[in-house]
């Protein structure tokens, strides 16, 4: 309690915890410009702040829902579930972490893949669920990625992946590291057969995900101001012992340094990727 509050007679003092007169979640404060936004309006705007265009993080299903055409979609590898092969235990058991993440997200693991259409073009698209253990890549993520890519290969459809991940999942140890090689190898097959792979990096795309398939797009795309890099900013700061430059490892920094082809606003994602993919596959978009 501050000195000022102490001066207020107790009968008119309000308890901080009883202050919640606004129903939770109806209003959201933008992390970037601090505007208070009406949730429904924010959602209509694809979770992009209407005032400053800050891109809020969104879940995997919502991502695919916003990206793919309405209508028929089929999930790929939905039956796959993680197992705790190493009986990994830190402050918590991996087994418990899986259960907890599954409850919180209602997903089996951190990558969701679907076949569907983009502007009438058949595609396969995958998206990371960052809320599932930081979108970390373990065996299930790798396997779903490979199955999605194989489907794209068989059906000769473009493959698009939206990344949002802290990197490899430590709890599956070297199995996780090997997913980097596994996912990169399947992309070599796509490349050989001339199937386009578009990698869309969203906030954040780090570590083993960034250092494997996410950087291997025929087209590398990023959402505005996403954190993208190999090593985390804190690790780098500890190593080089200097403060990192403003905007370091952000999308604009990557564009400037030649790592990505373009930065695309979420609200234009369908139009711009649709157009680029149509060109690359020699198609005309309907309408």
């Amino acid at each position: 309690m501050s000195w000022f509050e102490k001066l207020i007679p107790s009968r008119i003092r309000t308890d901080a915890s009883s202050k919640k007169s606004i129903p939770e979640g109806l209003w959201i404060k933008c992390k970037s410009c601090s505007s208070v936004l009406y949730r429904a309006e924010l959602e209509r705007n694809m979770d992009v702040c209407p005032k400053c265009s800050h891109h809020f993080r969104i879940g995997a299903r919502r991502r695919l829902d916003l990206f793919l055409d309405e209508g028929e979609r089929e999930e790929v590898g939905a039956q796959l579930e993680p197992i705790d092969i190493l009986k990994f235990k830190d402050s918590k058991k991996y087994k418990d972490r899986i259960v907890q993440a599954q409850k919180a997200t209602e997903e089996k693991d951190a990558l969701i893949a679907m076949q569907g259409q983009l502007k009438g073009m058949p595609v396969v698209a995958a998206a990371f669920e960052f809320k599932f253990m930081g979108g970390s890549m373990g065996s299930v993520v790798g396997e779903r990625f490979v199955r999605a890519a194989n489907l794209a290969l068989e059906q000769e459809r473009p493959f698009i992946c939206f990344s949002a991940s802290g990197g490899a999942r430590m709890q599956e140890a070297l199995f996780s590291l090997m997913q980097m090689a596994k996912t990169s190898a399947v992309l070599a097959r796509l490349s050989k057969k001339g199937i386009p792979f578009v990698s869309v990096m969203t906030d954040p795309t780090m570590g083993g995900v960034s250092a494997s398939f996410a950087m291997l797009g025929d087209i590398n795309v990023a959402e505005p101001n996403a954190l993208i890099g190999f090593a985390g900013p804190r690790v780098i700061e500890q190593t080089v012992r200097e403060t990192l430059p403003e905007g370091f490892q952000r999308s604009e920094f990557l564009l400037e340094h030649g790592a990505i082809d373009m930065i695309v606003d979420r609200r234009e994602m369908r139009d711009r990727l649709g157009s680029v993919l149509a060109i690359m596959t020699h198609q005309q978009l309907a309408g």
């Binding site: 039956q79 796959l80 579930e81 993680p82 197992i83 092969i85 990994f88 830190d90 402050s91 065996s139 299930v140 790798g142 396997e143 490979v146 490899a168 430590m170 599956e172 140890a173 070297l174 199995f175 996780s176 590291l177 090997m178 997913q179 980097m180 090689a181 596994k182 990169s184 190898a185 399947v186 992309l187 070599a188 097959r189 490349s191 050989k192 570590g207 083993g208 960034s210 250092a211 494997s212 398939f213 996410a214 950087m215 291997l216 890099g229 190999f230 090593a231 985390g232 690790v235 780098i236 190593t239 080089v240 200097e242 990192l244 430059p245 370091f248 490892q249 340094h257 030649g258 790592a259």
Partner: protein, 317 residues
Amino acid sequence: MRFLDFERPIAELEAKIDELRHMGSDNDLNISEEIAHLESKSDTLIEKIFSELTPWQVAQMARHPLRPYAMDYINAIFTDFEELHGDRAFADDEAIVGGVARLDGQPVMVIGQQKGRDTKEKVRRNFGMPRPEGYRKAMRLMQMAERFKMPVMTFIDTPGAYPGINAEERGQSEAIARNLFVMSDLKTPIICTVIGEGGSGGALAIGVGDRVMMLQYSTYSVISPEGCASILWKSADKAPEAAEALGLTSSHLMEQGLIDVIIDEPAGGAHRDPEAMAQRLKSVLLSELTQLQALDMDTLLENRYQRLMGFGKFTER
């Protein structure tokens, strides 16, 4: 530091043997008996200590200051090594060495991560932590090996890819990713050997091949024990626990089917007899290479691909 904590009893015993040897030259025949006795005692001690190393102790062995590095093996195993430099775009990264050589007369391309022995060399080699140009040099050499039909042999020994500002600016992620992509389909046999530290993506970036082998006391891990401990236990002091949980030893990874071959080290570790270690490694490289060269290219590549696709444990219901 010349020996690790758990090596101390061995070092003490050996110091005593040395001392006796010096005295022995002047007098007394009994001394040689005493020396023989102590030597056998030392052997038993080494065997005992090394038969029960914890994963954390193995991690320390992998980083032993006297451990042979890539160049030590390259010089001992190959002939006519000619080092090739640079990524043709930015710089030459001395954390990765590579070049053409002969293995028992056969042309090969060798690539390895190189740590430094003294302070000056450590800095020059960036402690074995490659930057993007190092990985791009490695890729250039591998593609050259493909063109000239030379098998590729890589020697992995890195704490990890360098986490620095300039490395990020030049695309550390892309450099690593590109190597995984290229190695998965390189049309020549690839044999990778972890000789010391297999530090995460920085190690994997020269670690995709037809055979992945480990020296007995080397480690291979998704993250360093210290890094893992500070993230999951919120304290780097828990590194021994993290080493245990990560299962980063050769025997554990062999059990999990993640590596193909373990090469036993001489008693007390590779640094106690680098020459013997190198000869052992050479004979395994030769026999593995012979097996790979018996395959036609399509089979070789398909096996390599299926090996990668097989990695992962999950259920499907």
